[in-house]
């Protein structure tokens, strides 16, 4: 029995090791290329001939067209604001849908489902004209506000995951709070939220990622305002034909640089997943 368990455990660990090797390999390649000494794009070999830190140094020196530090700051600000707004929206909507019962509830659920079925950027052109009509596209800063609004405005529709989570928290806990005289608001703030760390983390993470990876909306709204670019369009610019031969390795350096803060964030929030909610609900 013991040997059998040992064999299964070893097999599982070997399998995990192989899988994580596959998953880490491309990331390793990105890091490797970011230290490559030879410029230019494709090479007929895998291991770089020489290593250098110049790619990073040049990246942060920044010039008027390729101003990486500035793009980084832009994206960070936009990401923070849109994360706060959209996490607020998502948690509000999902809690209401999971716990409160009111007249229009089923209607809202159905409408949300229907809206989710339209391709997202089918509305992009219309959003662009609405923002233009409201005067949001006059200056660069206003464009950034517009981008925050675009990223977080419709966030309330993405409530399924959080609602599913709230559904699993026993109702008896809420009822106990009501008996103790808590209002529904108090229950939400002091009872439900503290037990929902995993799902709050999940919500925050997914909305934080949005601005870092979105290319289309940012490009449409920002146009040619290079100064106010977010990271994604900025890095894309580096891969454009007139830049690629010179900036190819810097592009990978840039990729590594943005991945670092997000990875650290993941490390910190990892705890929330591990702790989970089971322990809190049991009592």
């Amino acid at each position: 029995m013991k040997t059998k368990r040992f064999i299964t455990n070893t097999a599982c660990h070997i399998l995990l090791a192989i899988l994580s090797f596959i998953w880490v390999l491309p990331i390793f390649y990105v890091v490797l290329t970011s230290f490559r000494k030879e410029g230019g794009s494709y090479k007929s070999y895998i291991w770089p001939r020489g290593y250098t830190l110049d790619n990073y140094v040049n990246l942060f020196a920044g010039n008027s067209n390729v101003n990486f530090p500035r793009w980084f700051a832009n994206t960070l600000v936009i990401a923070i604001f849109s994360t706060l707004i959209s996490a607020f929206f998502v948690l509000c909507v999902s809690y209401v849908m999971s716990r409160l019962r009111f007249k229009m509830r089923k209607t809202f659920l159905n409408i949300a489902l229907i809206l989710g079925m339209f391709p997202g950027f089918m509305s992009m052109i219309a959003v662009y004209y609405i923002l233009k009509g409201l005067g949001f596209l006059e200056t660069g800063v206003l464009k950034q506000v517009a981008l925050v609004l675009v990223y977080s405005g419709g966030a309330g529709l993405g409530f399924y995951m959080a609602k599913g989570f709230f559904d699993t928290i026993p109702k008896s806990i809420d009822e106990a709070a009501y008996i103790d005289g808590a209002t529904k608001w108090d229950t939400f703030i002091h009872v439900t939220l503290p037990m929902s760390k995993p799902i709050i983390t999940y919500t925050l993470l997914t909305s934080f990622m949005g601005p870092w990876v979105d290319y289309i909306f940012a490009k449409v709204i920002m146009g040619n305002d290079t100064q106010y670019y977010t990271i994604a369009i900025g890095l894309w610019t580096m891969l454009e034909k007139e830049y690629v031969e010179y900036y190819y390795t810097q592009f990978y350096a840039g990729c590594v640089v943005i991945s670092i803060p997000i990875s650290i964030l993941f490390l910190l929030t990892q705890k929330c997943y591990v702790e989970g909610v089971t322990g809190a609900v049991k009592g």
């Binding site: 895998i46 052109i125 928290i169």
Partner: protein, 464 residues
Amino acid sequence: MGIFKKKEEPVYYKGSDASVRQAFKNGDAVTKLSFVIFGLGNILNKQIVRGLIFLAMEIGYLAYLFGFGIGAIGDFITLGTLEQGQVYNEALGIYEYSTGDNSMLCLLYGVITLFLTAAIIFIGCMSGKSAYATQFRKEHKQHIPTFRDDLRSLKEENLHAFFLTLPIIGIVVFTIVPLVFMILIAFTSYDHEHQPPGNLFDWVGLQNFSSMFSQGSKLAATFWPVLSWTLIWAVLATSTCYILGLLLALLINRKGTRCKGFWRFMFVLSVAVPQFVTLLSMRTIFNANGPVNVMLRELGIIGATSSIPFFTDPLYAKITIICINIWIGVPFTMLSTTGILQNIPAELYEAAKIDGASAPTIFRKITLPYMVFIMTPNLITSFTGNINNFNVIFLLSGGGPDSLDYYYAGKTDLLVTWLYRLTITQKDYNLGAVIGILVFIILATVSLLTYRHTGSYKDEGAFQ
């Protein structure tokens, strides 16, 4: 009266539960007038602040309507009549453009005006209902809530209104209004030959739809193959990511696995790296001269100068994209399922163990039903997400390899990337909108049916 005096029955019925029709039928003159002059019933009954808020909204709307709205509705019907022309300026000796109507803006302002009108009708009904509720309370000698009471109720019985207002405004402005706008464009002639402000476009009815389906046309010859690839892609992408992600989560969460955090981190790493970075580097890695082909050449599996056409052969491209999507999607599923796996009540497992259930039985009877119950809505959203998965296709293959048989589409184009090409590159906004509507119809029929049959829709409390 006597001893059998009828006890005053406790009024659970609050008046605010009345429907709009009841409020109008049973209301007195002031209540009825409140449907026209917003907030009147509230102001007359000392609910000054509430009444003034209603009134201010009405005045604001009327100012908009007479200043701008009526003209906007007129333009909405005609979509502009005055075409931009050239006028010869004799003093300067050049041709100058005369300003014409912009059909695009006519349409947009029309839609906005319609939405504002709908909103004001809704507020009018609210005003009437509110006046009726107050009248009802007055007749029954109940306490008439002050503004402070109103605010307090937002924390208790009206918490849903408090929580939903802002999200719903966001959804209306950034999702619903633009959608209605684009849907209307499907019924106009807004293509590359009718570009405002230079040219006007007009309503054309169902003409765009019929050209999409007419037999033998290039559009129809593009639509059907693109549609079938979209469906194949969505089914494969969703199922592979879900099954493999769930298995991975179970593998990491099982009792015997050590260093759970470490393993999780290895996979989370690929989520942490922004998606377009991984997608772009995958594109270079599988390029004709990329590292994978270089490695295969060095190992002697393929000839020294030949390369596997990962993105240039239609079939290879499809397989490559699905495999790369697994690489991207599995860690995401692993993350989301881990939270839920940890949330399964431990009592269920303990009870099962006491009853002597084996591990596979526990998985089949507890873990799987629980996961399916929680994850079905999520699965449906990820299916719809995959049908609309723009990033993966656009950044990996760009829809290519291109095909001459298609109307501006490639072999791996999804409907949604085709939509992108039609609107952004080709400026055929009307065709793009038609495709958007068709995508919606497909998704609506598929998922509304399945969603209505899932356990978590029918019986939300099953696991509570």
